[in-house]
């Protein structure tokens, strides 16, 4: 079942035409990875889906509803959790307050998800009363993912979770994403192909604001030509 359908979206930032025809079809229960070089439009695609940088044309359909033109808070309430590139942690709020802020419904299911997230990221339990600004980069990333997961979200949009993190922390975050994959659908933006290939099922490659490739992770793993052409990597 297609949970999220993005059809030919055109997004501008000021006068710059950033997305010039991005298409995605995200299947429920899978991890869809968006790959591409710096400036290809990956982050803008997630922001367009979230309504933070709304597209001027095209269509975004989530769970059977056209969400194009809706405000970001309404889109979030429909069941999309967002982990931005800069993690979006409130530096003057404690870890506990960051989580409290995110929780939309204080029921037992939410409590269970919070406990699950804290088991995935025990560092957060230790830093529970610490302010967001005093966390390490890895802890901020963990908190950002936990915050997006704590609600009953059908879809998580995760933007470059490995960015700026030490390899050992990246491994922890990726292990957590593999666990989350069992419970929800994920769209993952990543520049680190090796890392993305360990968790992804489906792949889209963006180049210069267009979708230029769609396939499965298994397909792309063996396609050296494609990787070299669009990702600039040769393995």
């Amino acid at each position: 079942m297609t949970l999220l359908q993005v059809e030919n979206i055109q997004t501008y930032i000021d006068q710059f035409h950033i997305l010039q025809g991005v298409n995605l079809a995200v299947e429920a229960g899978r991890v869809t990875v968006i790959l591409g070089r710096n400036g290809a439009g990956k982050t803008t695609t997630l922001r367009s889906i979230m309504g933070l940088t709304p597209p001027r044309a095209g269509r975004v359909v989530f769970d059977g509803r056209d969400i194009q033109g809706m405000q970001a808070h309404t889109i979030a309430r429909l069941g999309i959790g967002y982990v931005p590139e800069d993690q979006g942690i409130f530096k003057d709020l404690t870890v506990e307050e960051n989580m409290k802020l995110a929780i939309r419904k204080a029921d037992t299911a939410t409590q269970e998800r919070q406990e699950f997230a804290l088991e995935l990221f025990p560092d957060l339990k230790i830093a529970w009363k610490r302010k967001g600004g005093n966390l390490s980069g890895g802890q901020k990333q963990m908190l950002s993912i936990a915050r997006a997961f704590v609600n009953d979200n059908k879809l998580l949009l995760i933007d470059e979770p490995s960015k700026g993190l030490a390899p050992i922390v990246v491994e922890k975050v990726m292990a957590a994403i593999l666990e989350l994959k069992k419970r929800t659908t994920i769209v993952l933006v990543e520049q680190n192909f090796i890392m993305a290939s360990g968790v992804g099922d489906d792949v889209y490659i963006l180049d210069d604001g267009h979708t230029v490739y769609q396939g499965t992770m298994a397909d792309i793993r063996g396609d050296e030509e494609l990787k070299k052409k669009y990702l600039g990597i040769a393995i």
Binding site: L52, H73, A76, R77, P84, G88, K91, A102
Partner: protein, 286 residues
């Protein structure tokens, strides 16, 4: 009581008053990025509305309620009709709020005239009490108490309630708050109305300490609030409290010893903070 202690208590009373104006201004600027030049006009509207209700009812409490409600209504209408279309456009906001300040001030002159209006203290708060064997006005003590009450109230609102967490988060990153499913615009309206209500509340409390009011008092008091939010740091609530106290005490001492340069010293303090600690005296570099 020594002269120094007397001046200190008067300074704290003035600081309490400045705090009532500055706290709303600081939150509005911090959360919404709106530099509201009409904030002082709302303060003095609160004063006039409070005086009218006080005179009509004979109850200072009713005057306080009426003045505060007037401020909340003006703030709410102002945000919905005039500010909302111009979020993010600072030049338009400055011009617009300057225009609204003039309209609100002229509105007062239209309804109540441009001349001084006497604002008596309520009977229960008239007179003096002995502080360390020297007389000190009861009303100033009342002002300090009100300042403390508002300080504690706003602190509890910001630290213990969900709305408080939303406001503090919104000051840092309103877009992320929105992405968590919270309607930031609704919070903006609430904070704007709350800030305006606090300013108007301050206007009613200030009236009897001034003894008489004129429509132009709004602008004069607004200047202190702007100095305070720069010194305390934009959107920084403890900074606004400390900055108000500092400016209140410094201005009182300067008004006694060097009255000609009292305001200039406050502005110089603001300039020094801008040079050495532009994020406010309580900011911590990370």
């Amino acid at each position: 009581m020594s002269l120094t202690l007397n001046l200190l208590l008067n300074g704290i009373a003035l600081g309490s008053l400045i705090f009532l104006i500055a706290v709303g201004l600081s939150l509005i600027f911090g959360l919404m990025g709106v530099l509201n030049f009409a904030h002082g006009a709302i303060f003095i509207w609160g004063s006039y509305a409070g005086l009218a209700a006080f005179n009509a009812s004979g109850s200072f409490l009713i005057g306080i309620i009426a003045g505060t409600v007037a401020g909340i209504v003006i703030g709410w209408v102002m945000e919905r009709l005039f500010i909302r279309p111009f979020y993010g456009n600072h030049v338009a906001q400055i011009l617009l709020t300057l225009g609204l300040m003039i309209v609100l001030t002229e509105g007062l002159k239209y309804f109540w005239g441009p001349n001084l209006l006497g604002f008596d203290k309520p009977a229960a708060l008239t007179g003096v009490v002995d502080v360390l064997s020297d007389p000190f006005p009861i009303y100033r003590i009342f002002m300090i108490g009100i300042g403390l009450l508002v300080l504690v109230g706003v602190h509890l609102l910001l630290s213990r309630t969900r709305y408080g967490i939303i406001i503090r988060a919104g000051v840092q990153d309103p877009e992320m708050v929105q992405a968590l499913g919270i309607n930031v615009r609704r919070v903006f309206s609430l904070v704007f109305a709350l800030g305006a209500g606090l300013a108007a509340f301050g206007g009613v409390i200030a009236g009897p300490s001034f003894g008489s009011i004129t429509p132009d008092l709004g602008m004069a008091n607004q200047l202190n609030a702007f100095i305070v939010i720069v010194i305390g740091g934009i959107g920084n609530f403890p900074g606004a409290a400390l900055g108000s106290l500092l400016i209140g005490i410094v201005q009182t001492f300067m008004a006694f010893y060097l009255p000609d340069v009292a305001v200039a010293v406050s502005v110089a303090m603001m300039a020094l903070v801008l040079i050495w600690k532009p994020e406010g005296i309580l900011s911590v570099r990370r």
